[in-house]
Structures are given as structure tokens and as C-alpha cells.
Amino acid sequence: MQKGLIFFLFLINPIIQLSAQEDNNGQVHGNFSITGQSYLEDSLIGAPLVAEKFLMNAYGNLIFTKGNFTAGVRFESYLNTLEGYDKRFNGIGLPYRYISYQHEKLNITLGNFYEQFGSGLILRTYEEKNLGVDNSLDGARVIYKPAKGVTLKGLVGKQRFYYEHGPGIVRGVDGEFSINDFFPIFAESKVNITVGGSFVSKYQEDLDPIYILPENVGAGAGRISISSGGFLLKTEYAYKSQDPSAENGYIYKTGEALMLSLNYSKKGFGLFFNAKRVDNMGFRSDRNAKLNDLNINYIPATAKTYTYSLATLYPYASQPSGEMGLQGELNYRFKKGSAMGGKYGMFLSLGYANVNSIQKNVLFNGDGYTSGFFEIGDELYYKNLNVELEKKFSKKFKGIVHYYYQEYNKDVLQGLSGYGIIKSHIGIADLTYKIRPKHTLRMELQTLLTQQDKGDWAMALAEYSISPHWFFTVFDMYNYGNPNPEERIHYYSGNFAYSDKAVRIQLGYGRVWEGIICVGGVCRNVPASNGFNINITSSF
């Protein structure tokens, strides 16, 4: 690893040193992030003794650009990795480095890269540091734009697997064609149409002594996007060939997925609708991989992403093995001066989401099951209804009120049994009061009410901020309705943060409940912990 780094630095250093003497200098930018936490044993919340006492995740990126040339490298260190991250993130290394060259219509990247075809149904490599997800491809990618409105992409690579590579090779091509950009006569048209198609194939050797497993698995997708006068319609269909895997129980059934979304908006009004069907679309560069490992594709979750703490206690994650869902949202701004809007206007958002299983008719052969395309299964995975209001009352005071009703299939979504569907009501008030210029006090009051699982919760948060540098936050999250009186625990936390330009330093102490952290529909379990934490980030 170190030799690789030295080689890389030697390669780019002379270029930078030379370029510094020219008029047209190269530029170096980058960032770094350090997150450390101390761990105290806390038997009440189930925080175990951590032998190291202190754990740390850190990384830094350097990107160098000069003219058409770009090179980047990321240093990562896990000494040892924080609780809740996969322990295979271990030690120090350089798991991400690339060089890229742009020549007029052609862009070539060698090394690691992130890419997404369409909405990601058959290929999306990305990183989400908070989740420990990084499935970047390491290999080569070419992007070619032969004419205005035409983009062609081709790639070959192996996926990052912690500090190694996954066993499979991923190959893919994608093309996107904008009718309006390509044909000058449509340039001024009120209707915009873009079509695209992609194909991805993975190769993994079959070492199974008994079964004949397909070594090459292909997936194809087609998409179209049409927009006109405030409307946008997008749809994508994907198909996958036989791909027996640990995720689907080594069945030979093919996979398919359909996404359809329609939105309409004009000033002060927005409407969004989305429907999805997914059937056996897990797609990984190792057929034996599980959890968040080596995903080639990405199945977006059919639900809004929530950020208030109690609204995220029961987070929904998409089920690539099969689900059917739909969701909608209405956004409306009451005008200033109207009866509802008052002096400053008011913002309203109404949302709904519902996800069910797909109907599976079990077969006793290698295909596993059949499923009709429009057959919705009986089992509910997730349901959510939300009402959100936001209003400014005066120059100094504004408030946000949210209400959610949720049904959450804990058994399916967390891979457990015996919990059933958790029904909960959640109420949130978020109030901001400007004490004097640049001094602001913000309060959150939250409650989650349920008869099931761990019962009722309440939370209070206070945050005092002094622009532009200081933040002080304290909160307490209290599981007061836990059926077991001994588990009626306070999870309290205090934090302070200093922010200056692109540097941010945060110090805190707190008890963290055992739960699930989700970003963009991908989740990881975080164990209970008690301790001090520090986070430093900077960009330059």
C-alpha cells in the first residue's frame, strides 16, 4: 500500500511542481475527516466493553487538476473501526486512486470510479461514509460524447471490497440520447425527450462442486424521460438473467424491476408520484455476498427520508428480492397575505407511501417461484402518512410541525421474527427563536406512540447557535413507555461544534441507543454505546 502511495505521489508531484511555474497552474484540492469515539461500558443500555477504549475512522482526499488531467487519491484509516461499521474496514490504506484525462469529446478514467446508469437499477457504484458503503469499481471507464445530446459510456472493473476486490468482474455500457439536443429543429420544442439504455454483465467463476451456476450474468435496462410545461415523466425498466445467489436462495428465476415517476410543479405548488415493482433484482459481483457487500445495482426505497430522530426509529429499506410500492407527495405554499399564509406565508407538505410484498407462487424446481407482474402480495412491508406544516410567525419566531402515521414490518425489514407490524404515531414540533441578531435558540419536541415493541418515546432537544461559528446542543431521548420498567432509559447527549469556513470541529458526549442508521435507503445497525466523540472535517 505504502509503495503504491509513494509511486502515486512521485507521479503527480513533479507535474505540480512544474506547473506551479507556469501561468496556467494546476490546482490541488481536498478534504479530510476524522471521527473518534471513546467507549464506556454501560450495562443498562447494553453497551459492551470495547477492548480498545477508543476507536477512530479517518480519511482524506486529494484531487489534483491541471488542464485536461485529473488525479485523485483517498487515504483511509480505521484504527480500529468504530462500533457499528464492518470490522473488515481495518487498518490503513489507499483504497481509492484514479487518473482521468479529458480530451474534447472523450473522457478516460483509470483506477477507481463511481458511476450510475439511469436510476441505478442495474448499476450504481457510490460511497456513503456514514454507512461504510463504498462499492467503487476499480478498472477503466470511457465516456464519449460523439455529438451534442449523445453520451456513451463503457466500463470494466472489479468492485472494492473493504481493502480488497470482490471476486467478480463487472462490464457495462450505457447510452443516453437527448432528442432536443441532437436535432436542432427540436431545440426550442416545449417537449423534452431523453432516452437511454444500458447493459451490465458480471463474470464470476463457478467453483461449486454440485450446481452449474451461470458464470456470466447479464442485466439490461431501458429508460425514457419526457418533460413539458412543469410535467416530468420518468420511467425505467430493468431485466436480469438467471443469477442464483445467497440473497435469493440460489434460485434460477430471472429478475425484473420497473420504476415510474411523475411530477408536476409550478411556483408555489408541487406534486410527486412514484410507483415501483422489484422482483429478484439483487445484483452483486459475488453471488455469495450479503448485507451491504458488493452491490452492483441500487434499488431506491419507496419512502421519504426522515431526519428527526424519532421518525427514524423504524426506517424502511428497500427489499431487492421483491416488493411493490407507491408513494406521493403534495407541496403547497400558502401565499403571503392569504388567510392561511398570514404575513409570511406557510408551507404545507402531505405525503403517503405504501410498500407490499409481491405475490409469489412457489415452485418446487430451480426457479423458486413465479410472480405475475401486477400481482401485489398480501404482506405489508411499510406504510407511512405524513403531514408537515412550516410557518414563520414573526421576524424572530418560526415553527415546524410534523405528524406521521407509520406501519413498519419489523420482521421483514430487520430479518427477525415474532415482532409483526409496528404501528406508531409520531408528532414533532421544531421551534426556532432568534434571541438577537446571530443568536438563535432552537427546540425540538418529539414523541412516538406505539403499543408494540419498545412502547412510547419522547425526546426534547435544545440548540443554541451563534452565527457563524458556534453550536451548543443537548438532548434527551426517553423510552418512557417501555413495557419493561427497567428498560425505561434516558439516552442523553451534549454536543458542541465550532465551524469556521470549511473547517468544522465537533465534540460531544452521549449515550447512543441501539438502532439503525439509514442514508438514501441503505441502512446499517449501530450498537448501543456510551462515550465521548470527536469529529473534525475540513475541505480546501
Partner: protein, 168 residues
Amino acid sequence: MKVLNSVIILLISLLLISALQAQEQKFSFPSVDLKTLDGKTFNTSEINNTGKPVLISFWATWCKPCINELIAYDENYVDWQEETGVKIIAISIDDSRSIDRVAPFVNGRGWEFESYLDENGSFKRAMNVINIPHSFLFDGDGVLVWQHTSFAPGDEEGLYELLLEISK
């Protein structure tokens, strides 16, 4: 091992020194394809405000402080534009889960920023953004004069002073 480490430290220091030398110059925008709210393609190398300041803000529909920041910008945008000519560009990093919520959200609130979608975070990565909100201010010559991560109510006042200063 020690020698290797020393060499690495030396090389990184050299890199940082050259980085510092490079900070005062015109920022060269990375070339990344984004989508507009109505599905067209926009390349970030075309970011331009004909000699006036540009403010770029990274946000997402699920990021509360980002929304507060953009509300604060929105409340002042007309005045700022009149006095300084600034153009605000809002880059949403919503991924395919929430990307189609962005247009109804932005238009539903009546925001008039130039809005683009960075669906897989390519521009975010190229700009070294770690957490959002993260704003960048470029003066009329395209020099990066300020960047800031996180948002506290009142930050917009400091930004306004800075805008006045650079548009003198």
C-alpha cells in the same frame, strides 16, 4: 518503514505547499454532467455569471439545515441580486430515492435559484464536499473567496457583507 513514512510526509507537504500557491487563482470547475429539474443535461464547466459573483450551495431534500439555509437565501435573493448581481446555484445531492421530489420541492417553495441534480454525488466529490450544507462563493473573476459548511441562522448576514465587499 520509517524511511517510507518520511518520504510520504515529505511528498504530501510538497503537495500542500503547491496547493497553497494555487489558491489565489481562478477556480477551474470540474467538468461534471448534472441534470436540470426538467431532465436536461448541464455541464458544471459552464458555470458562469458574466463577471458577477456566483454562490453554489449543496443541499438535499432530507437535510434540515440545508433547507433553512436556502430559505434564508431565498428571503434575501431579490435584494442581493439587485445590489451585487450574485447568482445562486443550488445543487441537490438527492439520489434516485428522492431525486424526483426535488422539482416539486423547489418549485413548491417558490425558490428561484438555478437548480441542478447531482444524483450520484459526482460534483459533490469533485468539489470535496463532506457534509451538507456546504456553500462556495466565487467572485466575478471566478476566484473562490469563501466556503462554509453547516448553517446557523444569521449566517446570511455575514454572507451579505462578504457579497458587498467582493462586488465593489
